[in-house]
C-alpha cells in the first residue's frame, strides 16, 4: 500500500508521463498536423506571402521589364517613392480607385442588393423568379463576358444610349468611369442580394408583427427595425464588395484599358500599365504595395465600424 510506485497502473502512468512530459488531458500538438498543414503552408508561404514581401522589395528597385535593368536591377532607395509623390496620374488614380471600390462596390452594390432583397419580400412569385435569376446569372458571368456585354451596351448605338435617346453618343467614351462603375455594380449585386435575402430571413417575425400591432407603417418598420438588425450584414457586405471590386479590375482593363485619357485608370490597372506597357516593373510593384495599403486601411475601417457598433450599447447601459 505504501509503495505506490510498485502498483502496475501507477507505473504505466509514470512511464507515460516520463515519455510525454505533459498532462494527458491537455490537447497537444500531433505530428500529423504537420503533414496536413504542409501543402497549404508551402503554397501560401512560397507563392503568396513571399511574393508579397518580394513585391515590397521590388517597389524600391529600378527593375525593368526589358533592357539591362531587367536582370541587373538594384535597390534605389526612395527614388520610386519620390517619383510616386510627384506623379499626378497616381493621385488621380487613387481618387478613381476609391470611386470604383467604395462608391460603386461598397456603397452602390450594397444599396442595390439591399433594395432588391427588400423588394423581393413583397414581390409576385413570377417577378421574384425572373429578377433573382437575372441578378444571379449576372453575378456568375465571368468578367470577360461582362466586359463585352457592357461594352456593347454603352458604346455608340448600344442599348443604353438608344434607350435614353442619344443613339450617337459613345457613353463608354464620354463617361468611362460611370460605365465601368455601373458594370461593376451590375456584376456584384446578385451576390449582395443573396447575402441580404438570407439575412432578412433571420429577422424575427414576432418583432415585425409586434411593430404592426403598434401601427408602425412600412417605412417605420424598415428604418427602426429591419435596417438596425441588418447593420452587421450591411457592413460585411460593404467589406466583401470592396474586396471583390478590387478584383474586378479585369472589367476595366478589357473595356477601356484605363482610358480614355486615364478617365478610368484605377490603381490595379495603372500598376499593370506601368509594369507591362511602360516596362517599369519596379514602379508597378510600388503601386501594388499602395493597393495593399489602401485595401488594408479600408478593411480596418470596416472592422472598426463594426466594433464601434458593438461597443456603443455597452457604454450606454453603463
Amino acid at each position: 500500500m505504501v509503495e505506490l510506485a510498485n502498483d502496475p497502473v501507477a507505473k504505466t502512468l509514470g512511464a507515460l508521463v516520463a515519455e510525454n512530459g505533459a498532462r494527458l488531458d491537455k490537447p497537444r500538438f500531433s505530428p500529423s498536423s504537420l503533414l496536413l498543414l504542409f501543402p497549404a503552408a508551402a503554397l501560401l508561404i512560397g507563392l503568396f506571402i513571399y511574393p508579397v514581401g518580394y513585391s515590397v522589395y521590388l517597389g524600391f528597385t529600378n527593375l525593368q521589364l526589358i533592357g539591362p535593368n531587367s536582370i541587373h536591377f538594384r535597390f534605389t532607395g526612395l527614388q520610386n517613392v519620390y517619383f510616386l509623390l510627384s506623379d499626378h496620374v497616381f493621385y488621380r488614380s487613387i481618387w478613381l480607385t476609391l470611386v470604383f471600390v467604395v462608391g460603386s462596390g461598397a456603397v452602390g452594390t450594397t444599396i442595390l442588393g439591399l433594395v432588391i432583397a427588400l423588394a423581393l419580400q413583397s414581390a409576385l412569385t413570377s417577378v421574384r423568379m425572373v429578377v433573382t435569376s437575372l441578378a444571379i446569372v449576372a453575378w456568375t458571368l465571368p468578367p470577360a463576358a461582362i466586359a463585352i456585354i457592357w461594352y456593347a451596351a454603352t458604346t455608340q448605338g448600344g442599348i443604353f444610349p438608344v434607350l435614353f435617346g442619344y443613339p450617337h453618343a459613345d457613353v463608354l467614351y464620354d463617361h468611362a468611369m460611370l460605365v465601368v462603375s455601373l458594370a461593376n455594380t451590375w456584376s456584384l449585386a446578385g451576390l449582395a442580394t443573396i447575402i441580404f435575402s438570407a439575412a432578412l430571413r433571420n429577422v424575427p417575425q414576432e418583432m415585425l408583427e409586434a411593430a404592426k400591432l403598434e401601427d408602425a407603417n412600412a417605412y417605420q418598420r424598415l428604418t427602426r427595425l429591419v435596417l438596425p438588425i441588418l447593420k452587421p450584414t450591411i457592413l460585411t457586405s460593404a467589406l466583401l464588395m470592396t474586396l471583390l471590386s478590387f478584383g474586378n479590375f479585369t472589367l476595366i482593363y478589357l473595356m477601356t484599358q484605363g482610358g480614355p485619357g486615364g478617365d478610368s485608370n484605377i490603381l490595379p490597372v495603372y500598376s499593370y500599365l506601368q509594369g507591362f506597357t511602360f516596362k517599369k516593373l519596379g514602379y508597378a510593384a510600388l503601386l501594388g504595395d499602395v493597393i495593399v495599403l489602401i485595401s488594408g486601411v479600408l478593411g480596418i475601417a470596416y472592422v472598426w465600424l463594426a466594433q464601434a457598433r458593438r461597443r456603443a450599447p455597452k457604454s450606454n447601459s453603463v
Binding site: F29, S30, S32, S33, L36, L37, P39, A40, L43, L44, L47, F48, I49, P51, V52, Y54, S55, I116, A119, Q121, S122, A123, V127, R128, V131, L134, A135, I136, T140, L141, P142, P143, A144, A145, I148, I149, Y151, A152, A153, Q156, G157, G158, I159, F160, L191, I195, A218, L240, L243, G247, F249, L254, G275, F276, L281, A285, G288, I291, S295, G299
Partner: protein, 289 residues
C-alpha cells in the same frame, strides 16, 4: 326535423373562409415596379449577347437578329476551342490543388491543437482579402527567372489565390459536424485516413463542393494573371482569346458574342446546379462575417 334541431344546437364555429388580406398594398406596387425596373437593368445588356450570337450581320446595336448558327460554328473552330480547353485545364488544376490543400489544412485547423492557431487563421483571413493584382509583378519576376512562364505553374498560382478563402469555407463546414462521430470512430480503432474518407469528407461534401466551385470560377474568370504568366499564345485561356477578338481590326461581333456565351456557359451552369449548397456556403462563410 331532428336534424334541423341538431344543426341548430351546434356551436358557431369560426368561419373557415380565408381572411382576405388587401391584395395590392402600396408597398407591393412599389416593390414590384422597382423590381421590374431593376430587372430591365439586368436583362437589357444581356439581351444583346443572345441576339448578336445568332445574327448574320451583328453589330454593337441591339436588334432582331437574322437567324443563323454560323457564329457558333465560327466560335467552335479548333483555334477557339483550344482556348476553352486551356481554360478548362487551368481551372481544373487550380481547383484540385487548392481544394485538396485547403481541405487538409481546414481539417487540421478545425480538429487539431495547433500553436498560434488564432494568429495563423487571422493571417489567412487577411490573405483572402489581399488584392490579387499585387502578385502579378513579383510572380512574373520569380517565374521568368526559373523559366516557368507556362500553363501549369500559372494554374497553381490561380489555385493559390483561391486557397485562403477555400480554407475558410471548408473549415466552417468541418466545424459544423459533431465531434462525437469522429470520437466514436476513433474508439472503434478507425485510422485517421478512414475517419477522413468515411466520415469527414462525406459530411463536409457541400462545403468542399462550394469551395471547389469557388476555386474553379475564380480560375475560369481570371484574365490578367494568365495574360502575363503564360508566354505561349497557344496556351492562353478563353478570356485572353476574347481580348484578342475585341481588339482585332475586323471584329466579328456575332462570333464574339457566340464565343463569350460558350465561354460563360460552364460557369453559369455550375453555379445554377450547385446554387443551394453554394449559397449556404457563402452565407455561412466565416470569412465574410
Amino acid at each position: 326535423m331532428s336534424t334541423y334541431a341538431f344543426q341548430h344546437l351546434t356551436p358557431q364555429l369560426p368561419s373557415t373562409e380565408p381572411i382576405r388580406v388587401k391584395r395590392w398594398s402600396l408597398t407591393k406596387v412599389i416593390s414590384n415596379t422597382t423590381l421590374l425596373v431593376i430587372g430591365a437593368f439586368f436583362l437589357l445588356p444581356m439581351l444583346w449577347l443572345f441576339a448578336a450570337s445568332v445574327d448574320t450581320s451583328a453589330s454593337w446595336q441591339l436588334r432582331v437578329p437574322d437567324f443563323t448558327t454560323r457564329n457558333y460554328l465560327l466560335a467552335l473552330q479548333p483555334d477557339y476551342t483550344r482556348a476553352l480547353v486551356n481554360s478548362l485545364i487551368l481551372s481544373l488544376i487550380a481547383t484540385v490543388v487548392a481544394t485538396v490543400a485547403a481541405f487538409l489544412a481546414a481539417y487540421s485547423f478545425s480538429r487539431q491543437h495547433i500553436p498560434w492557431k488564432g494568429p495563423i487563421l487571422l493571417t489567412i483571413l487577411f490573405l483572402s482579402g489581399v488584392p490579387i493584382s499585387i502578385l502579378i509583378v513579383p510572380i512574373y519576376k520569380m517565374f521568368s527567372y526559373v523559366g516557368w512562364l507556362s500553363i501549369f505553374p500559372t494554374a497553381v498560382i490561380l489555385g493559390v489565390t483561391a486557397l485562403p478563402f477555400e480554407i475558410y469555407l471548408i473549415k466552417n463546414a468541418v466545424d459544423a459536424i459533431p465531434l462525437d462521430l469522429e470520437e466514436a470512430a476513433h474508439i472503434e480503432k478507425a485510422s485517421t485516413w478512414k475517419i477522413l474518407s468515411r466520415i469527414v469528407i462525406p459530411l463536409t461534401m457541400p462545403g468542399i463542393a462550394s469551395a471547389a466551385i469557388f476555386g474553379f470560377v475564380n480560375a475560369w474568370g481570371s484574365f490578367l494573371i494568365p495574360l502575363v504568366l503564360i508566354s505561349r499564345a497557344a496556351e492562353q485561356p478563353g478570356p485572353v482569346r476574347m481580348y484578342g477578338f475585341m481588339n482585332s481590326v475586323a471584329i466579328n461581333y456575332g462570333a464574339v458574342a457566340a464565343f463569350s456565351i460558350l465561354y460563360s456557359l460552364p460557369v453559369v451552369i455550375l453555379y445554377l446546379l450547385m446554387s443551394r449548397s453554394f449559397r449556404a456556403g457563402f452565407v455561412l462563410g466565416g470569412a465574410v462575417r
